[in-house]
Symmetry: C2
Subunit: 510 residues, 2 copies
């Protein structure tokens, strides 16, 4: 790697790809000449993230002198030194000459957003992809793409999309698809997760899966790794890199193109020859990674891996909710995932009886505490009630639906409208929600079992949405997993237990 030969604010621990993720300056070539250029695409995303407040940012387009409030330059060669990183938005037939300029300028990495290469299946376009790569490689420049969205590095202010969180976190995303990088970052950030880095690498002509697994394994800012992969070119290298990564960090992988039609689409998408699912499953098993079956499951497993749920040790769920029919279906859903809602011991039931009336409650487990406790929001009684369940011998973890959903779940006269706080009492309602989340965190910190919150995924508006948000953020930040349905929480637990069993012999990183 010639990258490390360049002068660098160096430490011994620097990884060859660190310069890619931490460019001191970036040129965006082919920014729009429309007046609103600063609002769209890469430039808009960089400005929103505040890259230009920390680093030098150069819009490049010969037809304009300014974009998004920044001085624009006619070409890469006209930008002030140094230009570390170049993003190409120019058409495919202009990429070779851009590459030559980058070489002349001495840039360190080039990201080709530009599409229309090997993924078209056209031999000439494929040859062009290789030619660009080889020319850049020969000059010691690493290439990202082509046909990809590139980088999201919140700590540096780098993003390819507006609306991604500005605060950094501990999850690393690598993906052959820009759309799915967006699905992962947007979907998980709504659930409280934050990211160290994300990289969409498209056709992966130069930098590919194995490079990013290798980087993620070493990256001190990364604790959990997740990937979307359609197919790999160099199976051995991927195996070795994934093995290094999954040995030290929970690594969750979704494979696209499992079906014949999906595999055909993958070929058109990133030129990938989608490998067989069996091979992929074996790859995960042998490396200690976990395979997600679909995008929802990827999200749910990242939640599990970044919260107390990763410590789940057994199949006994204590379920606390409201609504008789709701808990019946919840118990069925838990059973579908190979877990159980074991009968609570008589002694435990006796203790719970002190908190709820006989009529309209079920306390054997599942526990239906409708009309008594759960719908009143956070209370000391609720906390004691949950604590008693968490202490019961057959219980390995506790699921509870959060109070502001339960009346809707119960369908019992009261409803969401009535539970919605008045605008004036908004912060009080948010405080109740935050306190409930704190209670759950304290219960699992002081006890032996994880507590999992079920916050049903319903349309919420105004103050009600803010209350739910306040709960979710506080809960997740305190290590409490939040899931939108009982079925998905149960599935995540089942997968974590399966993963743990499979990893026997590997270090316990959960």
């Amino acid at each position: 790697m010639t990258l490390t030969e360049r002068p660098e604010p160096s430490t011994d621990a620097v990884h060859p790809l660190d310069p890619l993720f931490h460019p001191r300056s970036t040129a965006i070539v082919g920014v729009s000449s429309r007046p609103q250029a600063g609002q769209t695409s890469f430039l808009g995303a960089f400005l929103e993230q505040g890259y230009h407040e920390r680093h030098d940012l150069y819009p490049v387009n010969p037809k304009i002198t300014e974009a998004g409030g920044l001085k624009a330059y006619p070409s890469v060669l006209d930008c002030p030194d140094p230009v570390d990183h170049v993003i190409s938005q120019v058409p495919a037939d202009a990429v070779l000459s851009l590459a030559d300029q980058c070489i002349q300028k001495g840039v360190r990495s080039v990201h080709l957003f530009t599409a229309g290469f090997s993924e078209t299946g056209d031999p000439e376009r494929t040859a062009l992809e290789f030619e660009v790569r080889d020319r850049l490689r020969a000059a010691g420049i690493r290439m990202l793409g082509p046909n990809c969205m590139g980088l999201y590095v919140p700590a540096e202010g780098i993003s390819f999309s507006k609306g991604f969180p500005r605060e950094p976190g501990n999850v690393f995303v690598l993906s052959q698809s820009g759309a799915n990088t967006g699905e992962i970052v947007r979907g998980l950030s709504r659930r409280g997760v934050r990211f160290s880095k994300a990289v969409s690498f498209g056709n992966g002509a130069d930098l590919d899966c194995e490079d990013f697994f290798d980087y993620a394994a070493a990256d001190p800012e990364t604790e959990v790794v997740t990937a979307y992969i359609e197919g790999v070119k160099n199976g051995r290298a991927v195996f070795e890199a994934l093995k290094r990564c999954a040995a030290v960090k929970p690594t969750i992988i979704l494979k696209g193109g499992r079906s014949a039609a999906g595999a055909r689409a993958a070929t058109s998408h990133t030129g990938s020859l989608a490998g067989s699912l069996d091979v992929f499953e074996a790859l995960c098993r042998q490396t200690g990674a976990i395979r997600a079956h679909n995008m929802d499951e990827l999200h749910d497993l990242v939640i599990a891996a970044t919260t107390s749920l990763r410590r789940a040790r057994g199949r006994g769920v204590g379920l606390v909710s409201a609504g008789g029919g709701f808990v019946v279906l919840a118990a069925d859903a838990i059973s579908d995932e190979g877990l159980d809602t074991p009968n609570l011991p008589e002694e435990t039931q006796e203790r719970l009886r002190a908190y709820v009336p006989v009529a309209g409650t079920i306390i054997r487990n599942p526990v239906d505490a409708v009309g008594s406790l759960i719908r009143r929001g956070r209370s000391e009684q609720m906390k004691e009630f949950l604590s008693i369940i968490g202490q019961a011998e057959p219980i390995d973890l506790v699921f509870m639906t959060v109070p502001w959903d339960s009346s809707a779940a119960a369908g019992m006269g009261d409803n969401a409208d009535e539970d919605e706080p008045e605008p004036g009492s908004l912060s009080a309602a948010q405080q109740v929600a935050r306190d409930a989340a704190t209670d759950y965190a304290e219960l699992q910190e002081s006890g032996r079992v994880p507590f999992v919150a079920i916050q049903l995924d319903r349309p919420r508006r105004g103050a009600f949405a803010d209350t739910s948000r306040a709960f979710l953020d506080e809960a997740y930040n305190r290590g409490v997993a939040v899931y939108p349905t009982v079925a998905r929480a149960a599935r995540a637990v089942g997968r974590i237990l399966e993963w743990r069993a499979r990893r026997e012999g590997l270090p316990d990183i959960l």
Copy 2:
């Protein structure tokens, strides 16, 4: 049935249960004495629905003289004649004397919201349930419950919960659980569905499943029937009634208590002995009903049964969306449900090529038209593009993600924030959404295949939420099915095809 012997605005077609669903007057016994009584529980729901504007409504509580703006009465006996229907909110030990008053008053039906009977497992409480039932039966009075939420009849202004739609529709719900009646009515009304009637019958001591299947089969206001059932007492009667119902109307049933824990909970919930799943599956197969595996699937099958999706005849899906990785996973999800996204014929691809560029698009099927058509909202070009796909020989139905989700799906620079219309242009954005829905409806009316819209279930706020709502309402009302994910749409299609195959020999009601 003595009910029909009473004087009635009679037609020959009147069903013995018609008086229950169409009471000319209702007394709610045990309304709260709190000043806000008119806001909560049954009284609040009746007032919101406007029952009192069409019929006589009598709050009953000896401690007050007024509730919710209506005159309150000390007892049922003090209410003006006639009192057709009585709702009991009094405690279980006061129910026998209330029953005697109802007999004396000459009421026609009694709904016991009151819980604390056979579902507790206590022999004395079980005996009380039977005694109340027998005493009422002997007087020709039908009983609903105990331990249930009772009726929702929007055409009459009857409801047990605020927030249910006031407009009536064509779907009948019968449920052993009030919570799940709420899940069905709230969940499906968010997706455009409206209801003829819903009934939560709890312990079903008198009126039970079979009575409501029998009623739904005959009810001219009902076109589709759905049920949540934990266990049945009289298997033969249920079989016969369900057979009559499923022969003439699509009938979708969710069974709760499939698992050991769920069955235990069902016993505590409604005193049901949950039957085995095998028996239940056989019941559905032999009667021509369809079994939903969980609540989401129940919702999805009702959508299918009330839209053009019920006409699906084959497994070939044309998928149109945005984002390469998104369509790869969508193709996998379609395959998981036993459907296919067949290659489009060369000739079809040739015609599609006129609408999209080479770079960054996939048109073999799945079709990724990102950046070209789908993200620009509704257009004549989009309609032509979809029409060409719908005409292709291997295509049996078309799935398309709606434009206002697709940029988020694609994760390609632009995002939901930018797509959100300015408040000032709200009605214009809604109009575009409505026009797109109209286009889809016209495509399926003029062609041979159903068009299914995928409107991704993302948090939406303000104008963006209103635009999505405008689309959904217009689409559903024009017979276009809308699903929140490709996987769920595919699953619904798979189940409909399986159902159709199973019903061979029965009348084609789909």
